[in-house]
Amino acid sequence: MKKHWFLILPFVLGACFSQPDLAALVENMVVQTSVDPSINFSSYSTYTMPLDTIGLVSNTSNANAIVSSYSKMITAEVKKNLDARNFQRVSLSQSPDFGVNIYVVNDVSVFQSVSYGGFGYPGYGYGSYYGYRGYYNYPYVSTYVSSQALLILEIADLKNNVGNNSPKVIWSANIGDVITSVDPGQKVIEAITQAFKQSEYLKK
């Protein structure tokens, strides 16, 4: 065996197998949006949304809300984009047409499926399960993620929700990962802008 030492070399070289560079990998956040195609957003005018608080779903925290400069930054950016689309923010007592939910899913196992060849609405729900699908010309992908955080934006239909305690989510944006980034503050703002940019139908 001594004279066949060279056979070991390739196994050593084989250890160089690939993983993407983390900095390049998280340079920009993933932005995924879903919409109910039957909705005509031009028929909606007003919305309600808290400006200082966003929700929190976490395995590692008992808190269910984030109240900080971070939450204010997020809500301000969402409001800016909605206002630019000619929607008007009103109070809940003024019977808004839709409500905006914003929350972070943190340290919770996240299931994500991206169906490249077909499309269907996933089973939306708060809590430890979250799913979404998108469509583009790639094969099917399933992804399991844990110990990361997603920022979720949702528009819930209040106009057509008379007598129903579970308003239908008619638009959503999933943005992640909001923790692992070189500049998470700036990148999440860019990602929110991108979520609206790729949702041109979302306008009065």
Binding site: F6, Q19, V30, S34, Y140
Partner: protein, 201 residues
């Protein structure tokens, strides 16, 4: 008598040279061009290798085992994919890592030459891992398959007495290791190898 002795010695030497080696150890750098589903990974792979051993069965035939591996990668820059019901903006890092073990046989056209061209074939098992990364999300799935490999090559000894030779070959790999999620019913590639051969006895 002295002349006879010299002649016998030379003949014996020639005969011994004919039996000079009967084992071959290969070590190669493997360069591969993917041929299947280049939409997932289409770049030429320069990260790969091959090690092998063959035993001469007779003066023209050798058979043995070898192990190959290669890593393919591709990158799709950040862009937005849209549909009537949604959109996704991200970039993708994509990889296919392939491993193969084959029983291989080679036919050498010459015997005991410095230049030794051959043709061969291998059959064995392959394991491919198909990986996709975007931001902190990832997908990885491996699959086993049957591996078939026709190949041709040659090795060349720099001098008659050297037990080392330079080696080059071309091969076609066909593996049934599939991954329908990423659009692979099979995986095939064209490979080029350069390396060395250690001759032993």
């Amino acid at each position: 008598m002295r002349v006879v002795s010299i002649i016998l010695f030379v003949l014996a030497g020639s005969s011994a040279f004919g039996q000079y080696y009967d084992k071959l150890y290969f070590l190669n750098w493997n360069i591969n061009e993917p041929l299947t589903n280049k939409r997932f990974v289409g770049n030429t792979s320069t990260r790969g290798g091959r090690v092998g051993f063959q035993q001469m069965i007779n003066e023209n035939f050798a058979a043995g085992l070898d192990f190959t591996w290669a890593s393919y990668d591709d990158y799709v820059g950040r862009q937005t994919y849209t549909s009537p019901t949604g959109a996704l903006t991200t970039d993708f890092f994509k990889y296919v890592d392939t491993y193969g073990a084959t029983v291989a046989a080679s036919y050498y056209f010459f015997t005991d030459q410095k230049f030794m061209p051959y043709v061969g074939a291998g059959v064995g098992a392959s394991y491919n891992e198909y990986k996709l990364f975007y931001n902190v999300f990832s997908s990885s799935e491996g699959s086993w398959g049957l591996l078939l490999r026709p190949q041709a090559g040659a090795w060349y000894r720099l001098n008659d007495r050297s037990s080392w030779a330079l080696h080059g070959s071309v091969q076609f790999d066909f593996s049934t290791a599939r991954n329908t999620d990423q659009g692979y019913k099979n995986f095939s590639n064209l490979g080029f190898q350069i390396g060395v051969v250690k001759l032993d006895w």
